[in-house]
Symmetry: C2
Subunit: 366 residues, 2 copies
């Protein structure tokens, strides 16, 4: 599929994923504006003056990735550990000095709901974020501070709404978060949009060109541990939008095992995407790693563009490029980016069993 045939492309993208992607910087700015009013309406007396030893962001999939982004963002600044917990159980250490933010875009993810309820029982400093659903319902019933974000998006397109909501909560407890940096990041996303938007022709659109370079190949995405949210998000977006297998690994860890596993890869079937390093040392590691790849006969090696100076600008600009890339990869493969049949099948199969086994909705509070 030629990526300049706009009417044909629109036919494939039946549910308009491109609109959600192109609106992302605006969603981010709108949420930053609206969240303040929401926050002021919360009753936070019970949380005043509490000491916090650690932070858990509870969620899975498209909701959890915002937690990874936060960790990368403040990795060099935060004085307490932050953990993203993608399970249906809360880690044992979470207690009265733990700030827990339960995030589920739909509000109906059973993994997040069970973590939320456990955090409630353990008297954690608990907040929740969703567009509605059961998480909203039980938060209100249990008097847990709840932030509502814009409804009606595919969960993976809700990142620019969930991220500022989580960041806003954290900024009240963890002073290394600066919301103005998020605004600056939205501006960097605008730069990516200008370069990669749908109406921009293939010939001058890096995301379209890269999509055509990697189509039919198995993408392997590498980033440093402190930018691993980018590699993970691009991998997830390629899975969900493009229905294409992908993997990510982080550096320098990959240099200590992964690099040995490329031995028997079929050279033309794989491609490698690198997310730029932040420091001289990282550049050297990437250089050494790429050299080993080239010596092993690989030629499909690409760099994900990264914009800005501040960490969150770099994270969100490269993630945003990945959103466009995975979108064009889906269109080039003639696949609707929005529909996710296997995830729906899984969710349908597991939901009844989950609620029965975790005994969540039979609990007396509801």
């Amino acid at each position: 599929m030629h990526l300049n045939n706009f009417s044909k492309l629109n036919e494939i993208d039946k549910f308009g994923m491109i609109n959600f992607i192109e609106e992302a910087p605006n969603y981010l700015r709108l949420t930053l504006n609206s969240i303040k009013t929401e926050w002021n309406s919360l009753n936070l007396k019970k949380y005043e003056g509490l000491e916090i030893n650690n932070i858990v962001i509870s969620g899975v999939g498209g909701s959890a990735i915002s937690g990874d982004i936060i960790i990368d963002w403040i990795w060099e600044k935060s004085l307490i550990p932050i953990i993203v917990n993608r399970d249906y159980r809360l880690p044992r250490f979470a207690g009265e000095k733990t700030l827990v933010i339960a995030v589920s875009y739909s509000g109906d993810t059973f993994e997040t709901l069970t973590q939320f309820y456990e955090a409630y029982k353990r008297k954690c400093i608990l907040f929740s974020v969703s567009s509605g659903g059961k998480l909203k319902e039980i938060s209100e019933k249990l008097n847990i501070p709840f932030l509502k974000v814009k409804e009606g998006l595919p969960p993976r397109a809700a990142l620019p709404c969930l991220l500022p909501a989580i960041a806003y909560i954290l900024s009240k407890f963890e002073f290394s978060i600066s919301l103005s940096e998020l605004e600056a990041a939205a501006n960097k996303m605008d730069e990516i949009k200008k370069e990669c938007k749908f109406s921009r022709k293939l010939e001058e659109n890096l995301a379209k060109k890269m999509a055509l370079n990697i189509i039919g190949k198995y993408p392997v995405i590498y980033a440093f541990a402190n930018m691993s949210s980018v590699a993970r998000r691009i991998k997830d977006q390629i899975n969900e939008n493009s229905k294409t297998p992908a993997k990510f690994e982080f550096l320098p860890e990959a240099c200590h095992n992964e690099v040995e596993g490329i031995h028997s890869l079929e050279k033309e079937n794989f491609c490698f995407l690198f997310v730029e390093g932040q420091e001289k040392m990282e550049e050297e590691i990437i250089k050494a790693f790429k050299e080993v790849l080239r010596e092993n006969g690989f030629i499909n090696i690409y760099d994900v563009p990264v914009k800005g100076e501040k960490k969150i600008e770099k994270i969100l600009s490269s993630i945003y490029f990945g959103d466009f890339l995975s979108f064009y990869l889906s269109l080039a493969s003639k696949i609707d980016p929005t529909i996710t049949r296997n995830i729906q099948k899984y969710k349908k199969r597991i939901s009844e069993e989950a609620y029965k086994l975790t005994n969540f909705f039979t609990h007396s509070i509801l």
Copy 2:
């Protein structure tokens, strides 16, 4: 290569990796016995009565995996967060109330050395573990408690020496670690050894049979988040021993994105290895996930055997099976399991640059 042709197989395994693997349960028991004497020789006065808020295990590759195992082991019990840090920088939060264990089997890994030195400067409650090298040298110079483990193993074969050393240190600060459980796990490893050892013929050796089933395929290993050390270790061992690409992902997260990326995989080129779930809910999630795989046309789906009742028994028995599996996979592919050319190339390239840039060895203390 037929896996009953013992003399031919011995020719491929030039450096005797099989001996290291078969000795693993004994290494574990020997270290447990010797570590107590070592511990008693340490001067720990400065650490007496200190409060600990969190724990960082610093290392990469075959040294870091022991940290992952510890986290999975005490996930349901530990009252403080534990993090494995595979970078050359220490996380910002690590300070005077952080227990840092720097682990490098060789003692010369620059990532670990730079973390160690940073932890020293920040006055963390610092320990180090290695078989020798610079880590031993500078620990002695700086008067940092150091535990020495058995020398002369390939780093990935040193897991049964590193793990008990780390566990021993932790058991003095974090009371959810029971060393007797490690001994019980060594016995479960003996059961795996009986079933999977080199002298046991293909026909009655599950590890050999599975190796022949997955040879030439791309293994994808799935485990629950609380057993992810197993999936990661098997992936790393397949990379390093078998020089075969592999990936791991954890559940239920994979059900929320990964499962969509299998769409375009060539059915016969991939195989899926599942590490058993611990609970009824986990069994249901694995069942639902496997059903989606089967509906998508995949037939190469296998279970990694897991033995024992206690968590650490399950972790080490399934990891040990993976050690045998990756070993037989290398022999079946006629590849020497011990030699790791790409890792050596990378290390050689990076080492000079690393020491120059991180400015480690020019520092006045040395």
